[in-house]
Symmetry: C2
């Protein structure tokens, strides 16, 4: 679990673990409260009440409600970015990596539904500099998808008429949209949804020969 920046001195030594747990709990509760009431409608008092803490104790962890929103938003975004970056960097052809990246992003979204919704709905509540900091990460996010599509295109695995920027946004849109319709315990698991969306994403951009090779590989495995 990430620690709030610049507060590590306060959380060293023997009490380290309980404080980190408390921080994780604070983020979880804040996420839920922002989701239910919206950022404008939520107060630090609401969050403290739900944690069974005094409002004043929250200032041990954060300086303002805005800090908390920024932490909720940037944490879920950075975790997602780590998922896609780690999957993008394994040793395999760029189409296989794209498939794994899309599936990973979908699964991460399904598992962090509430935080993703807060990110997408409340980003505009952050002041410009902090929003820009998050958007820089979002740019990096898109970049992971675009770079893989460009790399695959250079290798002849993606059709030459595909525009990598639009393809990246299309694939990201398909995967991000999951936050609006996925319900835990519904008809499809995150893995099934991730696999289907990833398969459609790859098939949507691949050349005929890359697709044929891919299907032959899948057939050989089954």
């Amino acid at each position: 679990m990430r620690q709030p920046a610049g507060r590590s001195a306060r959380r060293s030594g023997g009490e380290r673990k309980p404080r980190e747990e408390r921080w994780a709990e604070l983020i979880e509760v804040a996420t839920q409260v922002f989701y239910e009431k919206g950022y404008d409608g939520a107060s630090l008092q609401d969050i403290a009440d739900r944690l069974g803490m005094l409002k004043g104790s929250l200032y041990y962890y954060i300086q303002s409600k805005e800090d908390l929103l920024f932490d909720v938003i940037s944490m879920v975004h950075k975790e997602g970015l780590e998922v896609v970056r780690s999957r993008a960097s394994v040793e395999s052809d760029p189409l296989q990596r794209l498939e794994r990246v899309v599936a990973g992003h979908v699964e991460h979204t399904c598992r962090n539904l509430v935080a993703v919704a807060v990110f997408l709905h409340e980003l505009s509540a952050l002041p410009p500099e902090r929003r820009q900091e998050v958007l820089g990460t979002e740019h990096a996010y898109q970049g992971v998808f675009r770079d893989l599509i460009e790399e695959a295109q250079r290798e002849g695995l993606v059709r030459p008429d595909v525009e990598p920027r639009l393809a990246a946004l299309s694939v990201l849109g398909s995967a991000n949209w999951v936050y609006r319709w996925f319900r835990p315990g519904g008809a499809f698991t995150p893995e099934v949804i991730g696999a289907q969306l990833a398969d459609m994403a790859v098939a949507g951009v691949a050349t005929e020969s890359a697709l044929a090779a891919r299907r032959a590989g899948i057939a050989a495995l089954s």
Copy 2:
């Protein structure tokens, strides 16, 4: 331009056109104000000010701010549904219709960016019955995509491993997400984006033989 339900008696006769124009203007301004300030932050006074009207005159058209939000949301949604339904019902194979439906939906989203954003962000501000009324239409929206994919699957044009419900949501997600990144006057026109996203959607679900036939058809035309 659609008229508000139940108010047709007030707008008959010689003055019909100016009143309809005024209504269209009211919807346009309300959309913009809801977008800029959020539904909670916007007041009928803001909307009246921007129209250069007295607030009291708004009650000639609507009974409450909620009426106005409902009209903004249901209008853009119904217009979009008309676009996709009309494109889904032309005489051609279901994959070609799917392509035209996706392109039409993307173009409609690009051209109604602000209203679509209000729809997606403020739907939850409507009371349950009115939200349900809109969601019924959203269900119909998804149904257009799903029905075409199912029809194409029955005809052997879509791969048997594609799950039509997930494919419909994936394609809709890719197309809906446009509202978050499209900027008028940017690098790509609505038509180019619509064509690319539609092409990827079809390629993402089609069988190899359907794709080969499709590419041969495109090659024959060019």
